[in-house]
């Protein structure tokens, strides 16, 4: 399955981002094609989270352009709303709404953003819970679920908006080892179903198996990019070699 000829859904050119005086992104150029799975890796503080958070504008970049699905991200609120309902995101800390049941967590956005009928929204929510494997938890509250279950709910919640693109920011790093697998399985299934995904992760096995392309971040730059095979077995850059030697 090659995605090389698909159309570009995310195009970043020279994206720069500062926090105060500190420059977190120093000019990122990256393209993501439709149905492509891109894995972003890099040392801590290298700007991975900042980068994917810029894509749905949880952070505003200051220079450069980001175009998602043909819409450029600017201060225009309409564009932001449109893009956010097309881009789903999963966080390291799950960020479920603790005061709502699992079902309400998932159906909240379809109800209020997509203005779906409640019955329909809840049926779809149940279907999604089915898909991530925990339909029996629908009426519980997030505080009553294990970490792995919570993260799967978070994925379901993002999927409920029927996004074209999914962003994952280290979805497994707050989880115990035995829970990591259940979340990764869901993500693999998602990738196989043809979802466009950007995944920040330290799970090298997942990257090797699922990724179409790997981006290596350091110092706020894309230091190296390539196919998993190329990247893991034949890295070009000294930084990459060093990084891989440390984690593998």
């Amino acid at each position: 399955m090659s995605v090389a000829n698909n159309k570009d859904v995310i195009v970043c050119e020279g994206v720069k981002k500062w926090f105060g005086d500190f420059q977190a992104l120093k000019g990122i150029d990256a393209v993501v094609k439709e149905q492509e799975v891109v894995v972003v890796i890099g040392p801590s503080g290298s700007g991975k989270s900042t980068f994917i958070r810029c894509i749905n504008r949880l952070e505003a970049h200051q220079e450069g352009t980001i175009i998602v699905d043909g819409i450029e991200l600017t201060n225009d609120v309409r564009n932001i709303d449109k893009i956010r309902s097309e881009v789903g995101m999963v966080f390291q800390q799950f960020n479920l709404f603790p005061h709502l049941t699992i079902l309400d967590n998932i159906s909240l956005a379809p109800l209020w953003v997509r203005k779906q009928p409640r019955r329909e929204a809840e049926e779809e929510a149940m279907a999604l819970l089915e898909r991530v494997g925990i339909p029996e938890q629908a009426d519980k509250f997030p505080g009553q679920l294990s970490g792995g279950q919570q993260q799967r709910v978070a994925i379901a919640r993002a999927l409920a908006m029927k996004p074209k693109i999914m962003l994952f920011d280290e979805p497994t790093s707050a989880l115990d080892p035995e829970m990591i697998k259940e979340v990764l399985d869901v993500m693999k299934e998602l990738a196989r179903s043809g979802m466009t995904m950007i995944v920040v992760t330290h799970e090298m096995g997942f990257a090797r198996e699922v990724a179409d392309r790997v981006l290596f971040f350091d110092y706020g730059l894309v230091v190296e990019e390539g196919t998993p095979a190329h990247f893991f077995d034949n890295p070009q850059h000294d930084r990459t070699k060093l990084f891989l030697s440390q984690i593998l």
């Binding site: 949880l58 956010r84 209020w112 009928p117 509250f141 009553q144």
Partner: protein, 498 residues
């Protein structure tokens, strides 16, 4: 064993300590011919109160009631105003707008670092320095500030208000039904059902119709009077029995529920002595109520005309009176239920005494100084609580909502506020309580609230201990009802945790 000895020993010492103080006090009082009791409650207090429902109370208890109502009045309006102002400032403190943010910070830091009493004096002085009313001012105004106070236009209920209000309440009920219908419609079909709009239109329509037809409800007057007669006819003994029965049932139910809540699948959980104390307390309170229902009367609220003055009878009569009062209000007269009343300045007496007439709403200088001071002061604390509460909701909640595409208004309402409210509520309740207690500083600016009235009564009668007891009872009831409300909401909002 040693532990119990120590406890009992200390308790005995404490009791002995109070016993000695009390004995000494008794000696002193005997010397000056004062004996503590509650007779003064019925005696004319011999002073007048500057504002309130009754300026010349004819008994001690009535004077205290006037003071207590004044406290409640300023506390209640202060709580409302402080909540609104505090919320605005707390939100402003979170604003990304540099100036708005800094102004809110300036307000908070200025107000809460200056003693409240000083602020009260400040407002008092400021108002007293306003120009006095002269003959040139006579006439009606919308708003007027003078050294007599702050007067403003106000809306009062007038003829036909209560019949109309009844219709209005019906309207509220109906409009909520309509709104819910529209919401289900929206949820079922996905089309916008405009639930809010429909609800408001229904309410407005019914209120308007009610405005025109409320005289038709005049016939209800008979019904109210009838209920009043019915209640009035119940013998006092029956009322006593009912009250006693209710108290006992309540206590039993409470204890049962309490035990149930301690029950685990493995049988009754271990009770701490706290739990046992609580149950004993519930039982004792019930017995206390029973005792009051049957025994108390006569001496406390003696009625000159010799009618039954037991608690049960008084309770029954006041209950009946409520219905008679309603009966009076349902006259069937036509007229606007609400009337707008403007403050007027008039010349009173022959000497040329320029004063505010009884129209509009007038905040006297003492009332206004107390009200504005406690409002501004408490608002600065409430603002910090609100800010803290919103900040304490994890940042991730906002981000998750944004990532889902929720708008700012939506996620504030659906995600952030429900969680923040939970954190805000307990300290907010505390602030309300503080505000209520702080109104007692009004005694320094001659505001006739319960402490000021009580202090005057102490001066007049020397009955310090009973009046202190009355104060305690008053504030205790106040704080219990406030914390009751807070606890109720707190329990309703508790998070389910693993």
């Amino acid at each position: 064993m040693l532990k119990w000895l120590a406890q009992v020993g200390v308790l005995a010492l404490v009791l002995l300590f109070f016993r000695i103080l009390g004995g000494e006090a008794a000696k002193n009082f005997a010397r000056s011919d004062i004996s503590f009791g509650f007779d003064w409650l019925g005696d004319p207090p011999g002073f007048s109160i500057r504002e309130g429902i009754d300026l010349q109370p004819n008994s001690g208890i009535r004077a205290l009631a006037v003071g207590g109502l004044n406290t409640l009045r300023v506390a209640f309006s202060g709580i409302i105003a402080a909540t609104i102002l505090g919320t605005i400032i707390g939100v402003a403190r979170l604003s990304k707008n540099f100036i708005v943010n800094k102004l809110a910070g300036f307000y908070i830091e200025t107000i809460r670092n200056v003693p409240l009493l000083l602020q009260m004096f400040f407002w008092q002085v400021l108002l007293m320095a306003q120009s006095s009313l002269t003959e040139g001012d006579v006439g009606s105004r919308i708003f007027s500030v003078s050294n007599k106070g702050v007067a403003s236009i106000w809306v009062f209920p007038s003829t036909g208000f209560w019949p109309w209000f009844l219709i209005f309440l019906g309207g509220v009920y109906l409009s909520r039904k309509v709104a819910r219908k529209r919401r289900t419609y929206q949820e079922d079909t996905g089309e916008n059902g405009h639930p809010g709009l429909f609800g408001i239109l229904t309410l407005l329509g019914i209120a308007l119709v009610g405005w025109l037809v409320h005289p038709l409800l005049g016939f209800l007057s008979i019904l109210w009077d009838g209920i009043g007669d019915l209640i009035g006819a119940i013998p006092a003994a029956t009322v006593s029995l009912l009250i006693a029965g209710a108290a006992i049932v309540a206590a039993v139910v409470w204890i049962k529920r309490f035990l149930d809540s301690k029950r685990t699948p493995a049988g009754l959980g271990k009770l701490t002595d706290d739990d046992i104390f609580r149950m004993i307390f519930a039982g004792v309170s019930a017995l206390f109520v029973v005792w009051i229902a049957f025994k108390v009367g006569g001496a406390v609220i003696a009625k000159p005309d010799g009618t039954d003055a037991s608690v049960a009878a008084v309770l029954r009569d006041s209950f009946a009176n409520i219905f008679y009062w309603f009966g009076d209000k349902f006259t069937g007269e036509a007229g606007s239920p609400l009337s707008v009343s403007k403050p007027a300045i008039e010349l009173r007496g022959t000497g040329g005494f320029v004063q505010y007439a009884d129209t509009g709403i007038l905040a006297t200088v003492p009332f206004f100084s107390v009200w504005i001071a406690v409002t501004l002061y408490t608002a600065s604390f409430i603002a910090e609580i609100i800010r803290g509460g919103i900040l304490a909701v994890a940042k991730g909640q906002t981000e998750a909502s944004q990532a889902l595409g929720l708008r700012r208004g939506q996620y504030l309402r659906l995600v952030i506020l429900p969680q923040a409210f939970r954190i805000i509520l307990p300290p907010l309740g505390n602030q309300y309580l503080n505000l209520a207690k702080n109104t007692s500083l009004g005694t320094a600016v001659a505001f006739g609230e319960i402490v000021a009235v009580g202090a005057t009564l102490i001066n007049q009668t020397g009955q310090s201990l009973p009046i202190v007891i009355v104060w305690m009872a008053f504030y205790l009831i106040l704080s219990l009802s406030l914390s009751g409300v807070v606890n109720y909401y707190n329990r309703r909002m508790a998070l389910v945790e693993r």
